[in-house]
């Protein structure tokens, strides 16, 4: 099926038309800019962040001459599905999963390792591409993943009506005083971490991510506790817009949401608060498809997003944090102030990075989420 269609793909069509156009416009091609042109990179990333195409890609093309063919997908489940197709059919060079997921992608035979000599590993802020995160970016010593930006999932609270304990805790999500907007699987993890911090679990919550027996034991407890507190949930969210509507349209006073949700609501009387147990943190970045056609250009692209300009642009587009040294100074002052308001050094040191979640774990997690929804 896919192979039948391939000879007619947009790219071959574009190449053919470009060749024709090239003959017609020969004088225009002999300019310094055109000579610097060194091809293209097929990048598949997140939908809904228009500043990538408006600001970052033009800056990259200006700096390197490489054109970015951008495919937008709504979430990384769709990206994984697309990558599974593309590993047979081609069409993707670079794609942007989170750090906890590339292991599963690699186990599915989708990725190739990165040539570190063509990247600038010194560009990254400490802690993002080295240390624990660095270890999680590598397999058998080979680098597979470099970060593009990072962010958090924490409490979005209404200034006037949210009842937060002191210090604010994940437990506030399960208090009958608050009307909450949640997503099921994160909520169960929040319940687990809250119980863990209270010393109410038979073993550490983190054990569940490496041992399926422990997972069932711990998630059963978290599920039972979460069901008891379900009465104050006013709406589920699965994406940015739903989370936003949960607060504005359905009147939630508290939620466990992405930082971007808090940022977008900052002028409507909501604040973004790190719980005392530590905010959930994610780390998003680039991987190279096993069958990438434009490997050099892809590495160049990854390297650009580690420079101050690229990292700041990427983080601004996502309303998140930059990965490159010197990027913070180039950030939108609004975004910078918003982050510094939530994360002081203590909150930063407490960040809880989502552990790697295997396919088996995610499937089981889905069952727990189903039970929680149905209860």
């Amino acid at each position: 099926m896919i192979k039948l269609i391939k000879p007619l793909s947009r790219r071959t069509f574009l190449q053919a038309t470009a060749a024709g156009a090239g003959l017609l416009a020969a004088p225009a091609i002999i300019s310094s800019k055109a000579l610097a042109s060194s091809g293209e990179v097929n990048f598949t990333g997140w939908a809904g962040y228009p500043k990538l195409a408006e600001v970052v890609f033009p800056a990259f093309t200006k700096a390197t001459g490489i054109k970015v063919n951008f495919t937008e997908l709504p979430d990384q489940d769709a990206m994984f599905a697309q990558a599974k197709v593309a590993v047979e059919a081609g069409g993707i060079d670079v794609i942007e999963p989170t750090i906890d997921r590339w292991g599963g992608w690699n186990a599915n035979g989708l990725l190739q390792s990165l040539d570190e000599s063509k990247l600038a590993m010194g560009n990254y802020l400490p802690g993002l591409a080295d240390g624990a995160a660095g270890e999680r970016s590598r397999l058998d010593g080979k680098l597979y993943y470099v970060p593009s930006n990072w962010g958090t999932e924490a409490l979005v609270a209404n200034d006037a009506n949210a009842k937060l304990s002191s210090p604010p805790s994940l437990g506030d999500l399960f208090s009958a005083d608050n009307q909450v907007v949640l997503r099921p699987h994160s909520t169960l993890a929040a319940m687990g971490r809250y119980l863990d911090a209270q010393g109410k679990l038979p073993r550490p919550w983190i054990d569940g991510y490496s041992d399926m027996g422990a997972m069932v034991q711990l998630w059963d407890i978290a599920l039972a506790e979460a069901i008891k507190a379900k009465g104050n949930v006013v709406q589920w969210w699965s994406g940015e817009n739903e989370a936003n509507a949960g607060f504005t349209a359905n009147g939630a006073t508290l939620g466990l949401c992405w930082d971007s949700t808090g940022y977008n609501l900052r002028k409507d009387g909501y604040k973004y608060v790190a719980p005392t147990e530590g905010a959930f943190a994610w780390h998003q970045g680039f991987v190279m498809m096993k069958n990438a056609k434009n490997v050099e250009q892809g590495l160049e692209f990854m390297k650009f997003v580690s420079t101050p300009e690229g990292a700041a642009g990427w983080a601004t587009a996502f309303s998140s944090n930059p990965v490159g040294k010197g990027a913070a100074d180039l950030m939108d002052p609004d975004v910078k102030a918003y982050y510094n308001g939530t994360f002081n050094d203590e909150a930063l040191s407490k960040l809880w990075w989502w552990p790697e979640q295997t396919a088996e774990f995610i499937s089981k997690r889905g069952e727990y989420a189903d039970k929680y929804r149905a209860a």
């Binding site: 709406q235 396919a359 499937s363 039970k371 929804r373």
Partner: protein, 311 residues
């Protein structure tokens, strides 16, 4: 075929046949066969596909009867597998949607077919059609806005003094599926109106008059004369609305409560969140099969034959 050849010549006819065959084979049959085949295989990493672990199995179908949880129906507690509960909820509420659309559609269809003056009929039908020109997604979202806590319904009811405090309509006043039922009825009501309208239209006015002349009360006329005649239209309307509701993903996703789960959402989670296409495929085929069984049973119960609907 001869007709086609005579009218368009060999080249064009050949092109028609080849294109239709391509459409059917490559875009309909082949993907479904692939999905069907993959539903009998384990979800494995790409490296293990074709290896010793890659064998045929019924395990994906068996997941439907795993994971029992405690629940209750009409106050009677019992345990049932979680996805089976989702399936029964979906079927029951799709049936409720079907009954409500029928109750709304039958008087309207009868009015359009037998009572309205022929001159105003086109205008009325146009008025019914206009909402169909708006996309289903927008119509569902419009209901989301209407039913939200800070939405227009609550603010007008509170403003008029009919309510003391706003209600969370979306989370269900009667059941957890209120908002979904409203959304589905609104989306699919015309699929009921038009088949019934079509079948009532073919009823001879004289039969209704004869019934009235012979002293039948208005409800007897409907029960004994109009309804039996309209049965094929009602049956096809019901089958369509039921299957469309049971298969809807958009409305249950836009208008969920915190306790609702539609079977299509379970399949979507398997396919996209768990990335387990094999189980997703198994659930899809199981769902088609089970829905067909339900429809067949109901048709048997109401003594409707497939050939009636085809009319």
């Amino acid at each position: 075929m001869q007709d086609l050849l005579r009218r368009y010549g060999a080249t064009l006819t050949g092109a028609f046949v080849v294109l239709t065959a391509f459409w059917l084979l490559a875009l309909v049959i082949l993907p479904n066969v692939t999905l069907f085949e993959s539903s009998f295989r384990y979800y494995l990493p790409v490296v293990d596909i074709g290896g010793p672990k890659d064998v045929y199995t019924l395990a994906n179908y068996q997941k439907f009867i795993n994971n029992p949880v405690e629940t209750s129906f009409l106050g009677i507690p019992f345990t049932m597998p979680i996805h089976m509960i989702t399936f029964f909820n979906t079927v029951i509420f799709s049936a409720i949607v079907t009954v409500i659309t029928f109750v709304l559609s039958y008087p309207l269809a009868y009015y359009l077919a037998k009572m309205v003056s022929p001159a105003s009929l086109p205008t009325l039908i146009l008025l019914l059609f206009i909402p169909l020109w708006v996309s289903e997604a927008l119509r569902a979202f419009a209901w989301y806005i209407i039913l939200t806590f800070n939405g227009p319904l609550n603010s007008s009811l509170v403003g008029l003094g009919l309510l003391d405090s706003p209600i969370r309509w979306q989370n269900g006043v009667v059941t957890a599926y209120d908002a979904i039922v409203i959304g589905l009825v609104y989306t699919y009501v015309l699929f009921m109106v038009f088949p019934i309208y079509g079948s009532i239209q073919s009823l001879d006015r004289n039969q209704i008059e004869a019934a009235e002349d012979l002293g039948a009360k208005w409800w007897q006329t409907h029960w004994r004369v109009v309804l039996p005649h309209a049965k094929p239209g009602i049956a096809s309307g019901c089958v369509m609305v039921f299957m469309l509701s049971a298969g809807s993903l958009l409305v249950p996703t836009v208008l969920p409560s915190t306790r609702s789960n539609w079977f299509t959402q379970t399949i979507q989670v398997l396919m996209l969140e768990s990335q387990d296409w094999n189980s997703g495929a198994a659930y899809s085929f199981l769902y088609i099969l089970l829905c067909t069984v339900v429809v067949t049973l109901v048709m048997w119960l109401f003594k409707v034959k497939l050939s009636d609907i085809a009319k």
